[in-house]
């Protein structure tokens, strides 16, 4: 099992110019921000369950850019149906990193369904997302990062991480308008083909 902060930092360390990142409520948002503030990040601080649909809409609006959704097992479990919607829309530019610690860490560490019988890679596969994997070991990370940056999507990796409560790292602004305006400017700015 992996530690989430160095994991997310690694995943974003070689970030291409055209990579947009969406993070789900809540630990994923703190992780992404801890890896470095960036106008190309949109970090959810509410509306749990909406990060997946938002990332899909973004990917459909910016087909020439890459969208990486980083979200937790609890956030994804709130709206599993979106995996079916994503699979059927089949966006080639969408990659999904599920930070699976089997726990609702923000609220006291209560077990999620993945601590029981639910396997989110199998759920994604059953929903029709053909390229899926489960990652448990640090040795898999270089290949994982390359896959997220370049594989023809949609792809989903369920990443097994340690359930740990870490210091909260707040994003650029808690004000949604400020955050959205900055992100939209970055997301709609053309970048040279990499």
């Amino acid at each position: 099992m992996l530690n989430r902060r160095p994991l997310v930092e690694f995943l974003l360390a070689e970030r291409p110019d055209d990579l947009l990142v969406v993070s789900g409520l809540g630990s994923s948002t703190w992780d992404v921000t801890a890896a470095g503030d960036d106008p190309r990040n949109f970090c959810f601080i509410g509306a749990m369950g909406q990060a997946g649909p938002f990332a899909l809409g973004l990917a459909m609006a910016q087909p020439d850019k890459r969208v990486l959704l980083i979200t937790g097992d609890g956030e994804l479990l709130m709206g599993l149906g979106v995996l079916a919607t994503i699979a059927n829309e089949d966006p080639m530019n969408l990659a999904i990193a599920v930070m699976d610690n089997g726990a609702y860490v923000e609220t006291g560490g209560q077990a999620t369904a993945t601590a029981g019988r639910t396997d989110l890679e199998m759920v994604a596969k059953g929903a029709g997302i053909s390229a899926t994997r489960t990652v448990r070991d640090e040795s898999e990370l270089p290949a994982l990062r390359d896959w997220f940056y370049t594989a023809s999507g949609p792809v989903l990796a369920n990443i097994k991480i340690v359930p740990e409560a870490l210091p909260l790292v707040f994003p650029h602004s808690f004000d949604g308008v400020t955050a959205m305006n900055r992100f939209r400017d970055a997301a709609t700015t053309e970048v040279a083909a990499g």
Binding site: A47, L58, M60, A61, G79, V82, T85, M180, A187
Partner: protein
């Protein structure tokens, strides 16, 4: 006179004219002719959702990427969207939804009543501006007005298509 008005076509024309290219929906009979028109248009992408709340995030994410979307749904889906509507509200993302009403004029299924009657209240509670079309002749202008308001003032707006206007379904006799 009003029977000659194709209000589905009127909505389609507004969506086309205002450059809405992402059409998200959970199917409803009231929207079926419009969905077919959108599917037949090469410039539009039609996304079938598993639940209406996905449409709130989808349309919001599309706008963040510079693309205009709309959510088509039945009034029963409005309740599914309540918490998701926090996203366009707090980020002031233009959000347009067109809602075919049930649970009002001539409804015959009791189970449609609570959410149909609760629809305006749920939308208002989440800060969505309400527009209502009771007559076929006003549908196009109402959708145009709601769409303009949503995108010009960065607000959430809903058009409620009344059941009276759509035509209440009935069980067949006998």
């Amino acid at each position: 006179m009003s029977d000659t008005i194709n209000w589905h076509q009127d909505i389609f024309d507004v969506l086309l004219e205002q450059n809405f290219t992402l059409i998200a929906h959970v199917p409803d009979a009231g929207h079926t002719p419009l969905i077919k028109m959108c599917e037949a248009n090469n410039g539009m992408e039609v996304v079938t959702l598993t639940t209406e709340e996905e449409g709130v995030g989808l349309v919001s994410g599309a706008w963040a990427g510079g693309r205009k979307g709309v959510l088509l749904m039945q009034s029963s889906g409005v309740g599914n969207c309540a918490n998701a509507l926090a996203l366009p509200a707090i980020c002031r993302i233009p959000f347009l939804t067109i809602v075919s009403m049930r649970g009002e004029w001539g409804e015959f299924i009791p189970w449609q009543m609570p959410m149909g009657q609760g629809t305006p209240g749920v939308l208002e509670a989440m800060g969505v501006q309400l527009f209502r079309a009771d007559e076929k002749v006003e549908v196009g202008a109402t959708v145009a007005a709601a769409a303009h308001l949503a995108h010009n003032t960065r607000a959430s707006a809903a058009v409620l298509l009344s059941q009276k206007m759509i035509g209440a379904k009935q069980f067949s006799e006998g």
